[in-house]
């Protein structure tokens, strides 16, 4: 299993506060990884750095077989390289239909003129309906996404992420606000996705993480505190201290 993303020695501070401190992290192709950590551990900032929203003060972020540095690239370029991101709160385009949302996310040329001249074709339509099926929104395609329930919006967003066909999925608290059944469905989708690509899930909910059944990285104060299976990290004294408070 080759390395897809390698983050090494990354630090970033905001007005003197070190949000990420000498963080190193690796993930291979087709791997599932959960990141846990208390509030302020730097989980979201870590995602911001990988997706290009935040520029770190130091460190390297290396991507893919050709070892490209992601640091010099814009958010859209990074996304085109194959990094997909799902936000903590579901962010879908509420004024547009589910179909439009998915169609926008479908892997295609992204240039303005390509898009202007883009014509829907049967292949794309089939692919779109396939994804809708996968996230359980087949009968909602023509609805405004603003009218969807919270859980449906989460799925729509996951669907959009899948439609992008990224090589790396960064998923921020996918199960927040979902019913137990919905959680299960979400887990299935993620596990399925991890068979063909790398998936990084940031989650608070230990139960959910346990169900993902993957390697876990614990972040604390901007750096890696522990790494390993869920049982391994939950038995780590330091992790217990951090979570329960010293």
């Amino acid at each position: 299993m080759s390395t897809l993303l390698e983050v090494s020695g990354v630090s970033v501070s905001f007005d003197g506060f070190k949000a990420i401190n000498n963080l190193s992290f690796q993930i291979g192709d087709a791997e599932m990884r959960a990141i846990i950590g208390p509030n302020g551990a730097g989980k979201t900032t870590f995602m911001d750095i990988v997706t290009g929203k935040t520029k770190p003060d130091e460190g390297r972020v290396i991507w893919g077989e050709r070892n490209i540095s992601l640091l010099g690239l814009s958010e859209s370029r990074i996304a085109q390289e194959g990094v997909g991101r799902k936000f903590q709160r579901p962010t879908v385009f509420e004024a547009q239909s589910v179909r439009e949302n998915l169609s926008m996310a479908l892997k295609n040329k992204r240039g303005p003129f390509d898009v202007l001249m883009y014509r829907r074709n049967a292949e794309a339509r089939a692919r779109l309906e396939d994804i809708a099926e996968q996230v359980g929104l087949s009968d909602q395609l023509e609805r405004m996404s603003g009218e969807l329930s919270h859980g449906q919006k989460q799925w729509l967003e996951i669907g959009m992420l899948l439609a992008q066909e990224p090589r790396l999925l960064l998923v921020d608290e996918p199960a927040a606000g979902m019913t137990p059944e919905e959680r299960e469905h979400t887990t299935d989708i993620l596990v399925e996705a991890a068979k063909t690509r790398a998936v990084v899930v940031v989650e608070h909910d230990m139960e959910f993480v346990r169900r993902l059944n993957c390697k876990v990285t614990v972040l604390h104060e901007g750096s890696v505190l522990a790494e390993g299976s869920i049982d391994h990290v939950t038995s780590n004294q330091e992790v217990i201290d951090v979570y329960l408070g010293r």
């Binding site: 997706t51 929203k53 814009s74 958010e75 859209s76 370029r77 996304a79 085109q80 997909g84 991101r85 936000f87 962010t91 879908v92 385009f93 509420e94 004024a95 547009q96 439009e100 169609s103 926008m104 996310a105 992204r110 240039g111 303005p112 003129f113 898009v115 202007l116 883009y118 014509r119 829907r120 405004m144 959009m160 992008q164």
Partner: protein, 392 residues
Amino acid sequence: MKQSFLIRNPHILVFMGLLAVFTIAVTLMSAYAGSDVISTSFVKTLGKTLCLCLIAIAMDLVWGYCGILSLGHFAFFGIGGYMVGMWLMYERTKEIVATSMAAEALPPTPEEVREGIGTQIFGVVGGAEIPWVWYFADFLSIQLALVVLVPGLLALIFGWLAFRSRVTGVYLSILTQAMTLALSLYLFQNDSGLRGNNGLSGLQNIPGLTDVGQDTISIWFFWASAVALALGYLMAVFFTQGKFGSVIRGIRDDEARVRFLGYNVEGYKLVVFTGTAVIAGIAGALYYPQAGIINPAEIAPIASIYLAVWVAIGGRGRIYGAVIGAAFVSLLSSWFTGGGAPDISLGVYTIQWTDWWLVLLGFSFVAVTLFAPKGIGGLFDLINPAHKGEKS
């Protein structure tokens, strides 16, 4: 494909039909057709209104769809006017100079003609030299190209700088307003080469067509404006439909999200900003020959603000809303300021609408923003509930 395009957008057919009926009706009622129902000056007013509708469409694209509240599009409109105005004024003056020199003992040399033109045009700003910006004023084709190129290039450079540094929202609005202010202040100078605050005048006269009366010319421009508006409408629908429309509406609602989908947001904004600037330039190039005069005051930031007002009142985020807003407000405005509205006597004080129209407009604008964010176009949703929300 074309068919489904029209079926998905029934308002195109409605709009085109109404525009065609309107155009033919105005033509038949004008002095051109021998009728005196509509005066030539009112034909010009209607033609100008069509141009304003066109720039309102541009504004709607950039603001209502792409979320960039540009307070600079009237500047592009003005530049378009200046570009065509330069040719009109130059050629017209050339005719006048040639006529006045014909009586001289020697036939004039091209240099003498040029000098005569220079004195004629730039005498008011104390010059006789023809500034370099007039280099192509003798060539209609080049000046017409400049109508598109200058606003487009300016928008491209400005937009590239502004979008690249991720200036958004109100900051961008203020920046575009500053750009407009800078441009109008620049044009106000005498050494801008465009006659300072005198501006360009006599644009209603078409060189080489001195025999053709204004009755006819006004109808020509009216038709040209109507065709431009129709094309602009079609193009706007084309731009806002399908995936491109999805993306730019996405940018309006949450540009960071669009970025994470892999779209180069800056590129899209630049395309929309520049494209609409070009439309604005064309609208201006059609407007000012009908107005007859252009000066830097036309470009002042307040004009762009009114443009935003029209679109907001008409209903942004729907093309026909922009058209309705521009037509409604600008015609109403000329009715009120032209003394058409009856004064209201309150005993101690008489409300004269020439004075109070702007107050009314200002407050109704506040009311629209607060209570009817969808504008007049929102009324159509009441008639046709199925339509609701689709384009808001």
